[in-house]
Symmetry: C2
Subunit: 214 residues, 2 copies
């Protein structure tokens, strides 16, 4: 991974900044929800989407009619992936904070153009989130594939920030008589709910029962 | 609320778009985590932060040394707040989707400058998240207040998107023999953990026990 450039540094010059690939990959793999920002008519726009990682790249996709995807193509984007792990309640308001894991990536969004490659990436995405589901689905049509845009950036100009643990209060504040601690937060996956329109006899598949996030 | 302008429309022209203030407020109030994007040297940057709503404005804050806050001041920003409510498993890959609630706001970020106003906003933020905590804390110092930047935009050029329920498959796909349904996802708040450095006899306060998010 190249050294963080000016833009990255501007965003991540805190003591918690981590630039190692393993930390960044772990965050990207734990959390499909991403926020992709781009510039439209000189002004910023940010939209939530799902990302997935393949090796040293991330991908995201959507409708070919999406203005976000059309605008971002071949343009600089910034992608943020963030997991909130808890609130940190300190002895002063100032030292309150949040425990979180976040990754930030910069790059020029490239579109995946070739049909077979697009199909393979979509399969990889599905298999990553719901292993075994792709082969069971009604196969993708040519029309659907054309209606799907996939964008990608390399994990190159990237950084991560991870904070955890108890509050870091000013030394003298530890004598102040107020409860301090953390309130842990995580994502919770509930039991799958079957579509009432399912054909009779279809049972909840293993990939739906074992899905995890966070 | 003014009609969505060109930029907003570009982002939210789907059938699920909702522009009513109540829907947007409910999303902002349920989820403090926001992604703020701005333009730096012509390129987009997006960073996670916490937002809170006061009437028809949202606020966010951070270190006065933060390049994000310094760059965004008096500049156009886009703020996204998003909650993932579940995965939607359809009968085709194409119709898979995510149930979510998201709000998107555009505006020029204004800094709150006056000291008393800054203090009041920080107190409101704390009281919103952890009612009753602010008066119990070691009071904010003048130095800390100066080191804190608060930015705000009106909830004016804004939109929301809410999706829920079972997959919407193509009519003919309902005869395809694959399980379909949803996997609900929510945020989970765990029991508070006390700082081992707490003074003896301090009990977990009610605001920490009853904290909720999502």
């Amino acid at each position: 991974m190249q050294a963080p450039t000016k833009r990255t540094k501007l965003k991540r010059l805190h003591e918690y900044g981590r630039y190692d690939r393993g930390t960044i990959y772990a965050i990207l793999d734990a959390m499909p929800v991403a926020h992709v920002s781009y510039v439209l008519d000189g002004a910023p726009v940010v939209t939530p989407t799902l990302q997935w990682r393949e090796g040293d790249r991330i991908y995201w996709h959507g409708s070919a009619a999406s203005r976000m995807l059309e605008t971002a193509k071949d343009m600089p984007v910034c992608v943020a992936v963030m997991l909130i792990d808890g609130l940190v309640l300190a002895r002063s308001g100032f030292n309150h904070s949040v425990n979180y894991r976040s990754a930030m990536l910069f790059g020029n969004a490239e579109a995946v153009k070739e049909a077979a490659a697009k199909t393979k990436h979509l399969e990889t995405f599905m298999e990553r989130i719901l292993p075994g589901r792709w082969p069971a689905l009604r196969p993708m049509s040519t029309k659907e594939l054309k209606a799907t845009t996939i964008l990608t950036i390399p994990i190159d100009e990237a950084s991560a920030k991870v904070t955890s643990g108890m509050p870091k209060d000013d030394d003298e504040d530890y004598a102040f008589p107020v409860w301090a601690g953390i309130i842990p937060i995580s994502l919770f996956v509930h039991a799958p709910e079957s579509d009432p329109r399912n054909l009779p006899g279809l049972e909840v598949p293993e990939h739906a029962k074992s899905f995890n996030i966070g």
